[in-house]
Amino acid sequence: MSLRAPFANCVRWLVVLAALATACAPREDGATVQFWALGHEGDAVARLIPDFERSHPGVSVRVQQIPWSAAHEKLLTAFVGDSMPDVFQLGTTWIPEFQALGALEALDSYVARSATVAPGEYFAGVWDANAIDGALVALPWYVDTRLLFYRSDLLAAAGVATPPRTWAEWSAALERVKRSVGPDRHAIFVPLSEWEVPVVLALSQDAELLRDGDRYGNFESEAFRTAFAFYLDLFERGYAARAGAGATASVYRDFAEGWFCFYLSGPWNLGEFATRLPPALADAWTTAPLPGPDARRPGVSLAGGASLAIAAHSARKEAAWQLVEWLADPARQVEFYRASGDLPPRRSAWQDPRLANDARAQAFRAQLEHVRALPKVPEWERIAAKISRSAEAVVRGEMAPAAALAALDADVDAILAKRRSLLAGASRDAE
């Protein structure tokens, strides 16, 4: 007996400790909508939420912020671990993946009965990126596309009066800037870890990144090779530094100090540059739509950004939709734009005087009419990583361009192997 009693005691203690550990897990009450917002959008949207809660008594919202660099694994892990939030921000390129998982609530019926959300109002390329096989699975929240940021003072000092409209003009401008800033500084900043730069150049060349119903890589196409050659030239000619990730931590400082003139970047930097650059430079920078490959074709950029999605397994879908719909209201989009600098996906929101009178933002407005969705395959994230890896290897002289693109196609084919076999299986089932 003396043996069992203390032992039972110990077991009891263990059980109590274990129970304590589990009991500390946060318990959600029925009406709190969990909302995961990524990066600085989390900051911005959290400030709008009190208004929502005032106008929607009975619904409360908890915003959790997740850095972009960890967002993808957090969302996937949460899905697998059954701890998805009700509403979450989703990078546009991730939509196909989460759709394949069955993580997304189809929104067509919600949109159909909504008085607020008008599909025709949205930029076509952006809306298309949110529809998978004809079903709308996420609602565009803000748009992201890439275009040119540049130091207008440095450009003028180099003797270039207007921003380049074609690749030829662009090359000429880069050459003059490079000559004017000297050997230590550069004409353009191209972060090697970003796949977006080679990809938008390819989109401008009308490249199809994947072929045969997105079953194979298509990076050895004429169009992609042309774009890639232009990309590599930026480094070959010394316009861009072969710098790595460490330098991007200080991109604002570098831009302010004139270490480069052009920067191919997205709309979030409208706000970042405005707040982080010294006041003396307030009028020394601006934006321009992407130059086209030639005078006949406009520069085409990617339809990116982020959308709001409702978890398919959410227990609070109605409340979740109320939040999504409220955030989609043009008036709210303007507020959100003011809070975050993120550009609205609806044309009517662009009538806001702040946007309409902002020349830098208007360059995005123009660009957004020429955007294309990226391939809608769940594997895109991995493919994109391969693209930046190949581009970086070539830029660093570790591979020859042709060999790198051939290897890229082979890699992408391998990544898509399972997709091919599942598609083949599905079509057999259909017969």
């Binding site: 660099s69 870890s193 790595g244 460490g246 599942l422």
Partner: protein
């Protein structure tokens, strides 16, 4: 006579159960997983899970990125390991020197980095390494060294991580070396001294051989730790630039939890394990060459 259960089992049962359930079962499951194509399609519907034999291993061994991660990790182990052991030994000799005053103070100073939180320290060093505002380049500028883009330059990123890692860890092995040094009988030094051996020869012919078993242990543990490199590149470089700091465990994490290629990630884990075993066996085999008594 009725046999009663041996009470000893009650003592070991909780620990064994926990270890079995949370170590052995997952490791075994991981082995099984590495022969499947468990990915996000399988997460969506388990019928999309297929047994693929050694396909993951084949893909892995044909994947340049894996070899790069392995090269990076081996570099970290092969260059960082000896440097780290040497730094530990040097610190131990300094702290343990007969003339040294305030030994506990210095010992604590050298040891402090060991107890600090790796993630926090990696954040700190990220800034120390900053090309222009970082302390390291500011100090080097005092010696006329041009600024180095430590974490942005592929040639410097791994050495930078390595340096931080040595700084963080050398104190641990130092303590073990100090214990080893203190276990060397004083009479050996006296005898060597009588034979006319100076400090260097004493070190070479008494200290080093007597320290060999300790050094072996330290080397094996350092190697095992080195192969598990993860948090430093995760926080400081995310594996960049150009994947020059991508470690095997970071690759496994990315494949596993970023993309949910669990089968493939499990294969990475097992290849790593095989290398670890081989490395440990090799070092143990090399032991006689060290010439030390065991």
């Amino acid at each position: 006579m009725r046999r009663r259960a041996n009470p000893a089992w009650l003592f070991v049962a909780p620990a064994l159960a926990a270890i079995a359930l949370f170590l052995f079962v997952p490791v075994f499951a991981s082995l099984l997983l590495s022969f499947t194509d468990f990915d996000i399609y399988a997460v969506a519907a388990l019928r999309n899970l297929r047994f693929v034999g050694f396909a993951n291993y084949q893909t892995l061994l044909a994947e340049p990125l894996f070899w790069q991660a392995l090269r990076n990790t081996l570099y970290f182990v092969a260059v960082g390991g000896p440097l780290s052991v040497a730094a530990s030994l040097a610190a131990a000799l300094l702290v343990n020197a007969r003339l040294a005053r305030c030994r506990p103070l210095f010992r604590t100073a050298f040891f402090l980095p060991v107890v600090t939180t790796l993630v926090a320290i990696a954040v700190v060093w990220r800034y120390l390494y900053h090309p222009r505002i970082g302390l390291i380049n500011q100090l080097l500028a005092g010696f006329g060294v041009a600024p180095i883009d430590w974490l942005g330059d592929p040639h410097w990123a791994m050495p930078a991580i390595l340096l931080m890692s040595i700084w963080k860890n050398f104190g641990f092995n130092m303590i073990i070396f100090v214990a080893g040094l203190q276990a060397i009988p004083e009479r050996l030094y006296e005898a060597a001294s009588l034979d006319g051996a100076g400090p260097w020869r004493q070190f070479r012919y008494v200290t080093l051989p007597m320290l060999a078993p300790t050094a072996l242990f330290v080397a094996v543990m350092t190697m095992i730790g080195g192969f598990q490199l993860f948090a430093e590149p995760y926080v400081m470089t995310q594996g960049g630039p150009s994947n020059h700091t991508l470690s095997v465990v970071l690759l496994m994490f990315q494949e596993g939890f970023r993309y949910w290629n669990m089968g493939y990630a499990a294969a990475i884990a097992f290849v790593l394990f095989a290398i670890l075993l081989a490395g440990t066996a090799l070092q143990l085999k090399l032991r006689p060459l060290g010439g030390g008594p065991t």
